[in-house]
Point group: C2
Chain length 303, copies 2
Amino acid sequence: MARKTKEEIATIYQQMQDYICTELEKFDGQGKFKEDRWERSEGGGGRTRIFQNGAIIEKGGVAFSAVHGPTPEKILKKLGLEKANFFATGVSIVLHPKSPMVPIIHMNIRYFEMENGVYWFGGGIDLTPHYIVPEDARYFHHRVKETCDEFDTAYYPKFKAWADEYFYLKHRKETRGVGGIFYDRLTGKDEVEFENILQFSLAIGRLFPEVYGHFMKKNSKIPYGSKEKAWQNLRRGRYVEFNLVWDAGTKFGLDTNGRTESILMSMPPQAEWTYMYQEEPGSEEEFTLRNLKKNVDWLNFGL
Amino acid sequence: MARKTKEEIATIYQQMQDYICTELEKFDGQGKFKEDRWERSEGGGGRTRIFQNGAIIEKGGVAFSAVHGPTPEKILKKLGLEKANFFATGVSIVLHPKSPMVPIIHMNIRYFEMENGVYWFGGGIDLTPHYIVPEDARYFHHRVKETCDEFDTAYYPKFKAWADEYFYLKHRKETRGVGGIFYDRLTGKDEVEFENILQFSLAIGRLFPEVYGHFMKKNSKIPYGSKEKAWQNLRRGRYVEFNLVWDAGTKFGLDTNGRTESILMSMPPQAEWTYMYQEEPGSEEEFTLRNLKKNVDWLNFGL
């Protein structure tokens, strides 16, 4: 068995974008994706698909890209490598729901290859509920763990811990949400392992609409008022802070002349900041903040 | 004449905070500053004063701090210096007005000293109108230039160009607003020059309420509607992007365990993001965007 080529992987990831968009439109029932195709002057391009003003999803994007060209200096320097061309392809998603009772979600799968033979897979999926609901956090982590376990039982514990570290707002001493998994620089020693990692990324891709569809159905009918909406806007502010201050992908993209509107599709439709916001003791808001911590066993949270 | 000590400078800057707050409360006529005193575990502390829900100022802060302790590794590395204690004091301001017709403003004056004898002054003032008004931009730059010229006629051209570079959103190819001045690492060769730079920073401090009071009076009565308010929220989004992605002071503060709520007092009360927002050709919004560029001669803009 020969290793799939980078072009084949790009095609498969593009199909994954199609699949996810079709599923999300079905679950939302009202909104439709709007597609922008773009080209990168140094090579390659992408299809950014944006969802605005759906019944459930207020703003979100499902982006596919496949870019190539000279490897950015920053990467070469970090890896201590000589000049070489690179190829990168992936699917990246962030969805901001209208209702504060439905969580924000992010998913990314990507493949990177250099002409000197270096290659790796990266990705992850993480959930950011405005309000932590123990049952939802458990469901999410169980489904992620089951998906990981199909490929390697070492994946979930390792990548769950990695997500805790990655999706962390150091300046707030808060995790972004209830986490999930994050992995990077995943390579295999032979064709079989390579294919296994690729299939793992595709399983994460397929898991995405399944779990988010679950939350769309289950939570979008829960009533809420202006108090919950205000809290949502503060949490969206934190999402902005994470993405602009700490997210390595966002920083790298903005720094290396990436397509700004595609990178910042992760921004919420709106966000608010209040100086020294004090949540009420014993409130749902306080419960959420108190549990935005690393090393929480979400599989058994609240049991 | 002996050089003023760091403690004397801190006291003078603290008085400047008092002066500015008193002036702003007078101009607003409704809001009052709320003060938070805080201490830094490594040494020193500050007085953060926050203004929320004024008649004209919707959210803003005037912060004073005087901190000391071991110089952060990042600074030592950047300067190629051996371990030494530092002392830093300054006044930092960001004001977000309620009305989109009143500009956002920022001002900062600061003094930094290390026990190995290294010292410098830094600071700046820059204006971010939601809508560029040629008369306002000219007024602002004229008053800033006149203030600079009292000390050194080389200051305005040099520091104006520096502001163009500093207050720049590379990922948007936009300046944050109509700029102003920015300066850093300003040192003098003797006591006279030292005092001159200190007095320059105080003149900028006094200029601040004068120019902002002018805009508060002149622009806060201009009528506006939901279109202008929506545009304001998009521009506030850009302000967030600049501060979290590019502002060296913000990044440094968040990275070195600074007081988050004081650093992020610069965040607007709310902000919005719309994917690929298209301003109408020939509109005020389009005029503004088109002129958010470096190297604009604001002294003669629109004449």
